[in-house]
Amino acid sequence: MPSALAPPTPSLTTYLRSLDEAPLDKSITTLISLLKRRQIRSSRSCALATTKLLIRVVEAGEDGSDGKWSSTQALIAHIRTVGRKLISAQPKEIVIGNIVRRVLGVIREVADRDSETVADLSGSEISGPTSPITITGERSVLPMRLSEFSPRDVLSGRPGTADSVASSTFSSPAAAPQQRPNLMTAPTGTSLFSILQHPQTQTRSTSSPYATPPAGTQSPALRPSPTFKSTISTIPEGGESLDIKAEVLDGLAELLDELSVVDTQIAESALEHIHSGEVILTHGSSRTVQRFLLTAAGKKRRFTVFVAELYPNDHLAVHDTLVNGSLPPVSPEDEGLGEKGRWKALTAAGVTVVLVPDTAVFALMPRVNKVLLSPHAVMASGSLLAAAGTETICLAAKEHRVPVVVLAGVYKLSPVYPFDEEGMVEYGDPSKVVGFAEDGRFIDGVDVVNPISDFVGAEGVGLYVTNLGGCAPGYLYRVVGDHYRNEDIELGRD
């Protein structure tokens, strides 16, 4: 498709195509520049690109020549390095960090699984909790007080106990003084992985009163670490590294699968939320919302949808989606079918669709039964980062007691607590608001601002529908705990 004369516009499609041929370093820098220049825009595209790149990283092996990894520690360190680079390329794109942490979680799970089998072979020796890699490289002091215990750890099914306070301290820099040594450290965990990482400081193991992992509270995504640990000296490293790579790649393939079916899974609960004759308010051209509504329309539910057009950043995509149908996402297998692969337009499915400017949201809200939104990212606190105009919609819905339903795949869910709300908002091109060519003198005298995203607090949302089902904003921390490891939340700095 690209002619020999002009290179194609860089985008997700071209990047995925080039990923197979290009050397790994080049791929990494290409993705970094795509992210910096915002040539890859939506959450799903960024997630897809990051996942595929990290798969390549794992495949390439430690020396970059498709070899094996000497240890999971090395693999994790490498992923963290690459992940840090990607995140700093576009810090406002939360999904990149989510994917990096998911990948790390997969690796740790594989490592745990392997060490479990090894532990059975080589006997057991109880060792206390040790901390994994910290930024400063120092072992953290274990918090010993009851007040430091966080229910999060119990319920997250991880035997991490000492990471209770640390996990809350990394997210709250203003921690209590007694935990100051923990401030810059990642939370401790009693996973085998920690032993793999720091065999020499094994002697510092002290038992924590909370070392016993809770019984029965298992997370579906990650298994709890084994209670019996073995010293690293008994683990044959050479034999296990090949397995690690294959198993990690398996796990990552599952992650890739999840990204491709997330819309379908979310849409499975469409019939639970939409009744006949309903009036729904939504905004933007999100494919998740389109799939959700199409599923309900396909089951012969007749409803009306008001679509706020999100001028000036997304309105062209909204118009295109409403008139011509949604473009299918670039999926891992086929890199987009283009025009032919378009989904049915909502109107073709029998839904009455009314396009409204963003100004009419408050005027229409008394007659709206439900608000359906799709965010860029969701924070563990239940707040979300979405397109500009979302806060208006959520506040108007709250004023009129209209339930707000947010459709978000788990890949959009971030374990990071949003302290700097203002800093998460992304600003865009002011010429979309007033163009230079249109009115240069105006721009000269007036400061034109164009925010692209909005930060909406958790109180604005009534329900989250993820690909694992629906949940209230207050329950999100549990889903976060299922999918991310505490040790990965703080990825450190370059």
């Binding site: 009306t304 008001f306 999100l310 001028y311 000036p312 950043n313 309105h315 062209l316 118009h319 295109d320 409403l322 008139v323 011509n324 337009a345 909502l346 109107t347 073709a348 029998g350 839904v351 009455t352 669709v353 009314v354 396009l355 409204v356 400017p357 963003d358 100004t359 009419a360 949201v361 408050f362 005027a363 229409l364 008394p366 007659r367 397109a387 500009a388 105009g389 806060e391 208006t392 506040l395 108007a396 004023e399 203002e422 908002v425 608001v433 007033v434 009115d439 105006f442 005298g445 007036v446 400061d447 034109v448 601002v449 164009n450 925010p451 909005d454």
Partner: protein, 528 residues
């Protein structure tokens, strides 16, 4: 068979069939006929009158039509089979004869739906009878359309004059948003064609200026209307049998008002002004000379404008500008003449503050305000309404203009004002509305849906340049997309709880005092 099919150029369907027949490809013949048939059905919302020109459509989206036709054919075939129309199903034979005969059949049925000329019809009918046997024998085609057509007798189901028209009509009606269905009878006029002769040229011009938003804004329209009426009054002469007070209002003024109403629904301020003017007219002494009476009326109009709008405006600006303190960040929405006056006044008084102007499409009135303020030397930020939460984070005061104040304390203003007021209220930012008493009304409003103004949906289409596409972007095809509607309301109603203060020429009021002041101001006028 081939020559007879091809020998009828008048019927487009035949032509389509004949074009393909020489190829010897029966499938093409069927396709051509299918397209003409499906286009005759005219149910897909493509622009068609009942006389569907098969060939114009066939040349266009043939592939799509083929698929549609196949589906339709399958349906009919199932129906026919269910009706037990004889299982004369010969196997699928791609014989040319069969193709051509079925091609001939289709023109038959299409024409019987009442479109093509008689000659072709008769010929085709003759062919149909002779070839029906062949058709039945070889009705199976890959598209399977021939089967259904061969077995089915004449087309009883559809007649395009009926189905096409009805289908189109129902599609067209669907372009109105159900919630606002009661508001779509408000006319808009863009030409003076058909205007009554009695309408004064000044009023004609004004009507066109209003419908094209050249004159936009409650106060501006009111003043412009009164000035145009002044000219009309000056041109008036009382007929002999009657007197000015009795005649002018109903026979002279009313056509002008009606014309203005057809150009664009009048604003509340205009309504109040008209009521006042009619009242003035009635109270003129019938004995006064025409010239004197007209001069009196014109002077009255001048005084009305001066008192209720100009002086009131500057009084409001003076009082409201006292609410602006140094270091303030004033947030405003769209363009209100009063707010502009207030801000300029405060700036002249030397207060140091900055302004954030929010704006929205399709009118982009805020741009004019931002430009005027920047020219005066103020520090201005300009954002669209989607950025309102960001603006509200920094704002210290919100100043809003009004289209009308309702008697239950609600503010009726440009659509989007309620959003700004809501965001300000959520952050405990004071919301101040600047509104002359001429905009107060007896009416009450609970929502923005029962009373509103619907502007034509075409105004929401992007101008080609802005869309970046020559044809105006995807939305230009909105009319052909059934089930897609565009909503372009002009006003919304802000609840009284969001408003902290209303500044009128009588002073600062809470929104609940609006009906009281309205009564006072109307009584005062009546008394004089």
């Amino acid at each position: 068979m081939a020559p007879s099919v091809g020998g009828d150029p008048a019927a487009p369907t035949d032509t389509a069939a004949s074009q393909s027949a020489p190829d010897g490809s029966s499938k093409a013949a069927i396709d051509g006929a299918q397209t003409s048939k499906t286009s005759a059905i005219a149910s897909s919302g493509k622009q068609e009158n009942g006389v569907a020109n098969g060939e114009t459509k066939a040349s266009g989206a043939e592939a799509k039509k083929r698929a549609k036709a196949e589906k339709a054919a399958k349906r009919e075939r199932e129906k026919a089979e269910r009706a037990g129309a004889g299982g004369t199903a010969a196997g699928p034979q791609a014989s040319e004869q069969g193709g051509q005969s079925s091609g001939a059949l289709k023109p038959t049925q299409n024409q019987q739906k009442g479109q093509k000329d008689r000659q072709g019809e008769a010929k085709a009918q003759a062919q149909a009878q002779t070839s029906s046997k062949d058709a039945k024998a070889s009705h199976k085609r890959t598209g399977s359309v021939s089967a259904a057509n061969a077995q089915r007798p004449l087309a009883l189901r559809r007649r395009p004059s009926q189905s096409g028209g009805q289908a189109k009509e129902s599609k067209q009606i669907v372009k109105e948003v159900g919630l606002f269905g009661h508001l779509y009878n408000q006319p808009r006029r863009y030409t003076i064609e058909g205007a009554s002769k009695a309408v004064h040229p000044a009023v004609l011009a004004l009507g066109l200026q209003m419908s094209s938003y050249t004159i936009c804004g409650s106060s501006a329209r009111c003043v412009a209307m009164l000035l145009a009426f002044k000219k009309a009054i000056e041109a008036y002469s009382t007929p002999k049998e009657t007197s000015l007070p009795r005649h002018m209002s109903s026979h002279y003024l009313s056509p002008q008002i009606d014309f203005l109403k057809t150009c664009r629904p009048i604003s509340v301020s205009m309504g109040n002004a008209i009521r006042w003017l009619k009242d003035q007219i009635i109270h003129i002494d019938p004995d006064t000379d025409d010239g004197e009476a007209k001069a009196e009326l014109c002077a009255g109009i001048d005084q009305f404008i001066r008192e209720r709008i100009t002086v009131a405006g500057s009084a409001i600006a003076a009082s409201a500008s006292t609410k602006i303190k140094p270091g303030d960040v004033i947030l405003t929405y769209a363009k209100s003449a009063l707010v502009e006056q207030t801000l300029l006044r405060a700036h002249e008084a030397g207060t140091d503050f900055r302004v954030i102007v929010l704006d929205s499409r399709p009118l982009f009135e805020g741009k004019n305000l931002a430009r005027a303020l920047a020219r005066a030397g103020l520090r201005v930020q300009y954002m669209l309404l989607s950025a309102a939460p960001h603006a509200a984070k920094e704002a210290t005061t919100v100043l809003l203009g009004a289209h009308a104040m309702m008697s239950n304390g609600r503010l009726c203003s440009r659509v989007g004002t309620a959003v700004v007021a809501m965001l300000a209220h959520a952050r405990a930012i004071p919301v101040i509305v600047c509104c002359e008493s001429v905009k107060f009304t007896d009416r009450v409003a609970l929502d923005s849906i029962v009373q509103n103004e619907i502007a034509p949906s075409e105004e929401l289409l992007l101008p080609s340049a802005a869309a970046g596409v020559a044809d105006g972007g995807s939305l230009a095809k909105w009319k052909e997309t059934p089930g897609l509607q565009l909503l372009n309301i002009m006003y919304d109603v802000t609840p009284a709880e969001y408003i902290d203060m209303v500044v009128t020429e009588f002073g600062f009021l809470p929104p609940s005092s609006v009906p009281v002041v309205h009564r006072i101001s109307t009584e005062r006028d009546v008394r004089t």
